[in-house]
């Protein structure tokens, strides 16, 4: 590939200007891209009025969550930052210690610091709020550093329990957000913005995964009733648009369950999202199961492993790794599908944005709002995608895992 003397400049020249016609096309395209890029930049810097974002940043973040209770969300964010830093550092050092700060990590830390400095300034947050963001970023990086440095000193018996902090943190987060255990209750109708989006999405992602795995196993079961029921469920859900299911959930769950028992509108929507995504996850997992050679199950069974153990220890670890990219793809579209909650009257990120844009004070600022929304969603989805790729890499002990 690389011919001698291929500096980046020479390579660019060879690839873009190989012949006069190539050169002409390249010039036209470059010119077009430059014009568009400059126009967008000029709009962002000079024409757009970001006051709409600056004035509503709290609304976008947490909706109408009562101001005097917002310390709970700050606490949750700090805990999340600490746990992330801890996990990040430990994953880098265990089970095989790599370099303490690989290039990607230095890049990520650089980005985090830049974000912590630029974002609060751009949003013109109050000094106290700015300070909190800086502290949270600092605690994330510090715990990353500490875990990377002393992670290996943790005795293995203790180390096995560390992943448990995530489910515990999730439960603690639920209590912090909704109240209880001595905290003032904040009903779901007051949650909103990014908080509501992330909450419903993470709830649905966590629950749809085991449900999807069970459905996929059911679909391949030898028991006709179980298989039939799984197929019926999956095909029914996949045949209906999510928005109709959401409306259906809002109306039907209210009728089916006696008054007090019907979950709140937010939870109804979260459950519908869960059941919806489970059908798609089931199909992704089924493809992973189908990719597994039948000899794997035969070998496990012939060693005397009963079916549940064979599934847990032999079939699923391999099938889920194959299904991982497709499954994360489903998670990403699930996150984006939460925007449909705005259509059933919930104030998720998009719903909040629509109320802001309907405010006479900010009429005509749609461009600014939608751009910020797009960037926020992109960040969340990119994080999911990066996480999935890291997980895939980590679960793969070999460069070529396939067996003869």
């Amino acid at each position: 590939m690389n011919t001698p003397g291929s500096s980046p400049l020479q390579r660019l020249r060879r690839e873009l200007f190989a012949s006069p016609l190539d050169g002409l096309i390249s010039l036209l395209l470059i010119g077009f891209l430059l014009a568009v890029g400059l126009a967008v930049l000029r709009w962002m810097l000079f024409q757009a009025q970001w006051a709409v974002i600056q004035a509503n940043s709290t609304l976008f973040a947490v909706g109408r969550y009562p101001g005097d209770q917002q310390w709970r969300l700050w606490l949750l964010t700090s805990l999340l930052a600490l746990a992330s830093g801890l996990s990040w550092g430990l994953l880098r050092r265990l089970p095989h210690p790599g370099p303490a700060w690989p290039r990607n990590d230095r890049l990520a830390v650089g980005l985090l610091i830049a974000l912590a400095v630029v974002a609060p300034l751009a949003l013109q947050l109050q000094a106290t709020v700015q300070l909190r963001w800086w502290l949270i970023t600092a605690s994330l990086i510090t715990s990353r550093w500490a875990a990377g440095r002393w992670g290996q000193a943790i005795p293995p018996a203790l180390r096995r329990w560390i992943p448990l902090i995530w489910p515990l943190l999730y439960l603690a987060g639920m209590v912090l957000i909704s109240g209880g255990l001595g905290l003032v209750s904040v009903p779901p109708s007051e949650w909103g913005g990014l908080l509501l989006t992330l909450l419903t999405a993470s709830f649905a992602i966590l629950l749809c995964f085991p449900l999807g795995v069970l459905l996929a196993l059911g679909r391949r079961s030898e028991l006709p009733l179980l298989r039939g029921a799984s197929v019926l469920y999956i095909e029914f859900i996949r045949g209906a648009p999510l928005i109709t299911l959401l409306f259906l959930g809002q109306n039907i769950l209210g009728f089916l369950l006696p008054g007090g028992l019907a979950p709140d509108r937010v939870w109804r929507a979260a459950w519908v999202l869960t059941f919806f995504a489970a059908a798609y996850v089931a199909e992704a997992v089924r493809s992973g199961l189908a990719a597994l050679p039948p000899g794997q199950l035969e070998a496990a069974r012939s060693l005397g492993l009963p079916m549940p153990l064979a599934l847990i220890h032999v079939v699923l670890p391999q099938a889920l790794r194959v299904a991982l990219p497709a499954t994360v793809g489903q998670f990403i579209s699930l996150l984006q599908d939460t925007t449909l909650l705005s259509l059933i009257g919930l104030l998720d990120l998009l719903g909040t944005a629509r109320t802001v844009m309907a405010n006479p004070a900010f009429l005509g600022k749609n461009g600014e709002v939608y751009l910020v929304l797009a960037v926020l969603f992109w960040c969340c989805c990119a994080a999911l995608g990066l996480g999935s790729r890291a997980l895939e890499h980590r679960l793969n002990p070999l460069s070529s895992p396939a067996q003869a």
Partner: protein, 252 residues
């Protein structure tokens, strides 16, 4: 080793009139009988499609059969899952495609079933597994993954994995057919040693030299039936049936 087994030896496998139909109506087994005594090495040969693999796969219920009866180590095969699992614990199986678990290390491949099924302490099983790996000559690969080993090494790991469950019977379903020629010998040597130690074995294979040297009996199957059953000397030098002669002339 090649002499006939004393009649006093316990019967390990007893198959009577086993018949099997595939769902498409094809009859794969047409009333097959076989008796295997403790310590015997029975080699099953036959052209492809003769039902020999299907037959030994009925011994540990990887294949169902519709008529006849099979008794393994005193337990009659039935549809009961517990009964099947109990039999599978006593019967090891080695496959043509090795079927090692690629997501586990060699050592974990060996220890998985004894720890989960026999509920033995992990330390103890690991020690035994390392011994077994040493016996099949791949002690130093214990912490590698199957994908990092050659075919011959993988098959030896597969044999060790079965042995780690301490089975009373070992089934081999064409264990060398998927191997490159230069790796066949190392696997056969392990099997030969196993036979010498008195393991009861049923082996589906095309390896004539192995059959000649190790088998107590050779069984020729064709079209879902047993054509001839004889000690190896007689089978290879003076087969009684025309079908056996034809088969031997084809593979020699």
């Amino acid at each position: 080793m090649t002499s006939s087994t004393p009649a006093a030896a316990a019967v390990m496998i007893e198959a009577r009139g086993v018949e099997k139909w595939y769902p498409n109506g094809f009859q794969a087994l047409r009333g097959v009988d076989l008796t295997v005594h403790q310590g015997e090495v029975v080699v099953i040969m036959g052209p492809s499609g003769s039902g020999k693999s299907t037959f030994i796969r009925t011994f540990n219920a990887l294949e169902a059969f519709q008529k006849g009866s099979i008794t393994v180590d005193g337990m009659a095969l039935s549809d009961d899952v517990r009964n099947i699992d109990a039999i599978r614990r006593e019967v090891g199986m080695v496959f043509q495609q090795f079927n090692l678990f690629p997501h586990l290390t060699v050592l974990q491949n060996l220890t998985l079933a004894p720890v989960l099924v026999r509920r033995r302490p992990r330390r103890e099983v690991e020690r035994q597994a390392l011994d077994l790996l040493e016996r099949v000559g791949i002690h130093e690969q214990a912490h590698k993954y199957p994908g990092q080993l050659s075919g011959g090494q993988q098959q030896r790991v597969a044999i060790a994995r079965s042995l780690c469950m301490e089975p009373r019977i070992m089934l081999f379903d064409e264990p060398t057919s998927a191997l490159d020629p230069e790796m066949v010998q190392e696997v056969l040597e392990v099997m030969q040693e196993l036979a010498r130690d008195g393991m009861t074995m049923v082996v589906v294979t095309h390896e004539l030299r192995f059959a000649r040297r190790v088998a107590s009996r050779v069984v020729l199957m064709a079209d879902g039936e047993v054509v001839e059953e004889a000690p190896p000397e007689q089978f290879f030098t003076n087969p009684r049936h025309e079908r056996s002669r034809q088969f031997l002339s084809q593979i020699r």
